[in-house]
């Protein structure tokens, strides 16, 4: 093309001696560039074109600078300079745009080629799980920690004194009927497997002065023939609060707070008078049935309520065993079946599944 060859010559050689001729010359060159680039856009070797036009030594624009601008006559030199800058900006701009377009095209075709089947699973790392009972314990602990309870633990192999007598359950008390007990062979002290976490009420009060505010998680044992709701072992969490100013109203507020935190803000609480040797007044704590929401169904035997756990004000007889003054102190205690709470909340129909440790169960609660 004549135009590009023209850059090998000087302007004087081509007879360009006026700004008009300079402009026209540059217009031709610009058209040539546009043709050149447009023509080759599909198969364009972008790098080669860039070298041809913008190459530092032999590029067309470099030649213009050497051959046209430097030797240009004084009167047309500014016009040449301006035109050269304009052309350079155009050429550079075009190359940037072309490079971007080419990258996009390349990415698109690569994406189309590499598109994976997203319905296939990835590589999943085997991560374990915490047991549902553990998760429930953590939830219960969080709730009671938030209102100032401290967590303590105690032995599972207990003495009859802590498990029964100190809790106002003497040897021939009929309340022992509900607490069939496993005894340890050959123990002089008559050791047994604790039937509830309540012995820690006594052990704690023996050691500490009020105010006492504790919860006691742990395993307990009953000599029951196993069925869908009974096992040799289950989990409890005991609670005890004793101080100079704890009343039934505080007891009520605490269990209501617990029920709302554990079962949700809509859950209502009902206290039903009951009997436990170590509390008085005693209560069964009921919550609105989680299945029917209180309207009555088979699960709640059409009462709208589900029994959650037993509780009450500490029986003054218990204070006698720990040297607390029953005339000055008062408090409340509760004992929750954690398995039962977990079963209720997560719809587990059978108690045994909680200790069978079938991984198909364990994985259900990640």
């Amino acid at each position: 093309m004549a135009t590009t060859d023209s850059t090998k010559q000087t302007l004087a050689q081509m007879g360009v001696d006026s700004p008009t001729k300079v402009a026209s010359l540059f217009d031709d060159l610009r058209s040539a560039f546009d043709r050149d680039v447009a023509h080759e856009i599909s198969s364009l070797d972008l790098e080669a074109a860039r070298v041809k036009w913008l190459g530092r030594k032999a590029g067309i624009l470099a030649e213009i600078g050497d051959n046209w601008l430097k030797p240009a006559a004084k009167e047309i030199k500014p016009a040449v300079g301006q035109s050269l800058n304009a052309l350079k900006a155009h050429v550079e701009g075009q190359f940037t745009a072309l490079a971007a377009a080419k990258d996009t095209a390349r990415e698109q075709s690569a994406a189309a080629r590499d598109q994976i089947d997203l319905s296939l699973p990835g590589v999943e790392r085997a991560i374990g799980t915490r047991h549902l009972i553990r998760q429930t314990y953590e939830e219960l602990e969080r709730i009671f920690l938030s209102i100032g309870f401290r967590v303590v633990e105690g032995p599972e192999i207990e003495t009859p004194y802590y498990n029964f007598e100190a809790l106002n359950i003497p040897e021939h008390h009929p309340a022992r009927d509900n607490m069939d007990t496993f005894y340890i062979e050959g123990s002089k002290a008559g050791h047994l497997l604790r039937t509830h976490t309540s012995p820690m009420q006594i052990r704690t009060m023996e050691k500490e002065k009020p105010p006492v505010r504790i919860i006691v998680p742990g395993k307990v044992y009953r000599r029951d023939n196993p069925d869908s709701t009974h096992g040799y072992m289950f989990h409890q969490i005991e609670g005890l609060a004793v101080d100079t100013d704890i009343t039934f109203c505080d007891f009520k507020g605490t269990v209501e707070y617990f029920v709302r935190e554990f079962l949700g803000p809509k859950a209502k609480t009902r206290l039903r008078p009951s009997y436990f040797p170590f509390t008085e007044p005693s209560a069964e704590v009921d919550a609105t049935c989680h299945v029917c929401g209180g309207s009555g169904c088979r699960v709640c035997k059409f009462s709208g309520w589900i029994e959650l756990f037993g509780a009450g004000m500490v029986n003054p007889a218990v204070y006698g065993c720990v040297n607390y003054d029953p005339e000055k102190l008062s408090g409340f205690a509760f004992g929750m079946g954690v398995d039962r709470l977990a079963m209720m909340k997560y719809g587990v129909g059978e108690l045994p599944v909680l200790t069978q440790n079938d991984v198909r169960f364990l994985r259900q609660f990640p």
Partner: protein, 693 residues
């Protein structure tokens, strides 16, 4: 206790339908599980707590209903047509053991026609789950369910000398009870005897010899009060629980005894005719004045935190039979904070003897719902268990390593436990187990772990990684000791085959890696060869932690043991004592400090060593570390090779040594200097040679 609605209404004019009664009773402390229809009308199934034997009869339930609705209870006034002959002329009652029998009343009926009971009586008994036998026996049962007072009817003609002796059973004495079983008695037991022999086990069950049959004509009706503890002991010792023993062991009402014989005589006369001899034979050595009980408003407020109006207090206590009367100086002031009521304990409420008992009575009938809830202010900080944070970190780590947490029942099979029990450990054996496979408290968590693995393998789950944080149990000098442990168990594939990866079996190296991952929390675990016999010899290991000493064991279950337990897969287990582990985690945490990340590049150098069999990697690493090269960062095994071109007795170990300086980029010359130091040390100390590459 089943309550027939229409029967109840004979004693109180409640108009509430059964469904309402159910919920009102439940909210007053008598939980009613259900209401069902029967031939005798609606029946409420009530759960009576152990402290309320007075509610084990319709009359007692009527008192509760009366208190709920503030209605009067109808008095019981049986009407008897008595003959001129005195009962006391026809029989004699002697209580030889007044400590076992506080009262014995007897009434005599003659010429009674024993026959089947009428429909109304049969239906009521059947509605509460009792079989009808004959009119006299049915009446004694009926009166028990009406008044809560157990009764017994003797065939008077079968009594030697027609008299009653209440005494302790004699050594070796036997009796055939109504259920046809011959029972051996002991002198702790109380019997009803005639002049020569035991006729009935007091408060538990009658004997067949003096039983009422269709041929009987003359009847002695017994209504007595027996010592609760004696009845309970006797009933337990004989394994004989009856409706009578259930009531006596909870405490019957001694004042009800006489009334019950009257009621029974009235009914028998209605149903079977005959004559009632006049009067009752009543021996009452246990008579005691009714205790008085004080209730003060101050105490009520202190316990309940909110007040109950005077009128409610008085109405409730009156309805329940406590006869409250204000005795304080402020009687004219209603609602006085200084109000005090003196009450009398009714004979049927031996459970209520203190002010707190009256507070409970008032509160439950006033309504627990009327007391406002309030959260007590906390005066102390809340605390988790002492090592809770460390245990969280441990559990989080084990879960992240892919182990599922299990929770097992620590009661296990004694024979299985024995396999894993360390020598000299005395197990905590259950004296009264319910089943062979739950007869001892486990000596190790391994037993439970293998049980859980077995369960899963038997249910088609063969790739398992489980852990438990639990306890082990033993006796030391007769005292129980409970030790917290972390137990791991793994079997099957470490990685299952997927479209991305090939499968890989779980190996000892996986277990070791997992444990070392746990060990990083506690500084670092040390490993020593050897371990209990139930681990496979070559892989049995003992684990220790720097500052905590011996922690536990790890390895593969010995084939012999696995076979014995019918576990076909290779099983890997570990058990670590929790307390020192948690202490180690806490100690490590306390010393963890930031170290500057080096700015200069690290340089790795591989050394291919030929070593004599038996030389351990640790010796190689220690030899290099002993050089105390300041730039030494790590010594890692890179490749291990035996056999092939290796001469017998030798093996090849490639180690990768990393150098890095905190101050400068290392020069080739410095690396070469370190390398030759290392090679020289390995050659001289371990006889290693560099393998020609």
């Amino acid at each position: 206790m089943k309550i027939v609605y229409n029967w109840l209404k004979e004693f109180v004019d409640a108009t509430a339908p059964p469904a309402e009664l159910r919920s009102r009773l439940s909210l007053a402390g008598v939980a009613v599980d259900s209401v069902e229809e029967s031939a005798a009308g609606p029946v409420l199934d009530a759960e009576i707590t152990a402290n309320r034997p007075d509610c084990l009869g319709h009359y007692g339930m009527a008192r509760e209903v009366a208190a709920i609705y503030r209605l009067p209870v109808k008095a019981l006034q049986p009407k008897l047509k008595e003959a001129a002959i005195k009962a006391s002329d026809a029989t004699r009652v002697e209580i030889e053991a007044p400590e076992l029998c506080g009262r014995y009343t007897a009434r005599i009926m003659r010429g009674v026609k024993i026959q089947p009971s009428p429909d109304w009586l049969r239906q009521r008994l059947e509605a509460i789950g009792q079989n009808s036998i004959n009119n006299v026996v049915d009446v004694t049962n009926y009166v028990m369910f009406e008044l809560g007072q157990p009764m017994h009817a003797f065939d008077l003609d079968k009594l030697s000398e027609r008299r009653i002796v209440v005494r302790r059973a004699r050594a070796g004495e036997k009796i055939r009870t109504l259920d046809g079983v011959e029972r051996a008695l002991t002198k702790d037991m109380c019997v009803i005897a005639d002049a020569s022999r035991a006729l009935a086990i007091a408060g538990v069950m009658g004997g067949s010899e003096s039983e009422i049959g269709f041929a009987s004509r003359n009847v002695l009706l017994e209504s007595a009060w027996f010592d609760p503890i004696t009845v309970r002991r006797t009933s337990k010792a004989l394994g004989l629980r009856t409706e009578a023993s259930y009531r006596f062991e909870r405490g019957a009402d001694p004042e009800m005894a006489e009334l019950a014989t009257r009621r029974a005589a009235e009914l028998i006369q209605q149903l079977g005719g005959g004559e009632i001899l006049s009067g009752v034979v009543d021996v009452y050595p246990g008579r005691a004045p009714a205790p008085s009980i004080e209730l003060s408003r101050k105490e009520l407020l202190r316990v309940m935190g909110a007040d109950v109006p005077d009128r409610d207090i008085e109405e409730i206590l009156a309805a329940l039979g406590f006869h409250p009367s204000r005795t304080d100086a402020h009687r004219g002031t209603p609602g006085s904070l200084l109000a005090v009521w003196q009450c009398t304990q009714p004979s049927w409420r031996r459970d209520a003897s203190r002010g707190i008992d009256l507070i409970e009575e008032v509160a439950r009938h006033y309504g627990y719902d009327k007391f406002p809830p309030r959260l007590p202010p906390a005066k102390q900080p809340a605390h988790r268990l002492p090592h809770a944070e460390a245990q969280d970190r441990l559990r989080e780590r084990v879960v992240a390593l892919g182990y599922q947490e299990i929770v097992a029942i620590p009661l296990v099979d004694a024979r299985r436990d024995e396999i894993f029990r360390a020598e000299g450990v005395a197990p905590a054996v259950i004296g009264n187990p319910l089943a062979e496979d739950a007869s001892v408290m486990r000596s190790t968590g391994i037993v439970s772990m293998l049980g859980a693995l077995e369960w899963n393998l038997n249910h088609g789950q063969r790739n398992l990684r489980l852990f438990e944080i639990g306890k082990t149990y033993e006796l030391r000098d007769g005292e129980p000791v409970e030790t917290a442990v972390l137990t791991l168990g793994a079997t099957g594939l470490a990685r299952e085959k997927t479209i991305h990866e090939a499968e890989r079996e779980f190996t000892f190296a996986d277990l070791k890696g997992d444990l070392d991952g746990i060990g990083k929390l506690a500084g670092r675990f040390g490993w020593q060869s050897g371990g209990p016999a139930w681990l496979a010899g070559g892989l049995a290991s003992r684990i220790s932690a720097g500052n905590s000493g011996a922690l536990g064991v790890a390895g593969q279950l010995a084939r012999r043991v696995a076979d014995q337990l019918k576990l076909r897969q290779e099983i890997f287990v570990a058990e670590l004592r929790l307390e020192p582990l948690l202490a180690g985690i806490e100690a490590a945490r306390a010393t963890e400090k930031f170290t500057l990340i080096p700015r200069f590049p690290a340089v790795e150098r591989d050394f291919s060593l030929v070593l004599t069999d038996g030389v351990k990697f640790a010796q190689v690493a220690d030899t290099i570390r002993a050089l105390a090269i300041p730039e030494l960062r790590s010594v890692e095994p890179a490749d291990l090779f035996r056999g092939g071109k290796m001469p017998v007795g030798k093996f090849s170990l490639m180690i990768r040594v990393t150098f890095q300086s905190g101050e400068t980029t290392l020069t080739d010359a410095r690396i070469a200097e370190c390398s030759s130091q290392i090679v020289a040390a390995l050659e001289s100390k371990l006889g290693a040679t560099l393998r020609a590459s």
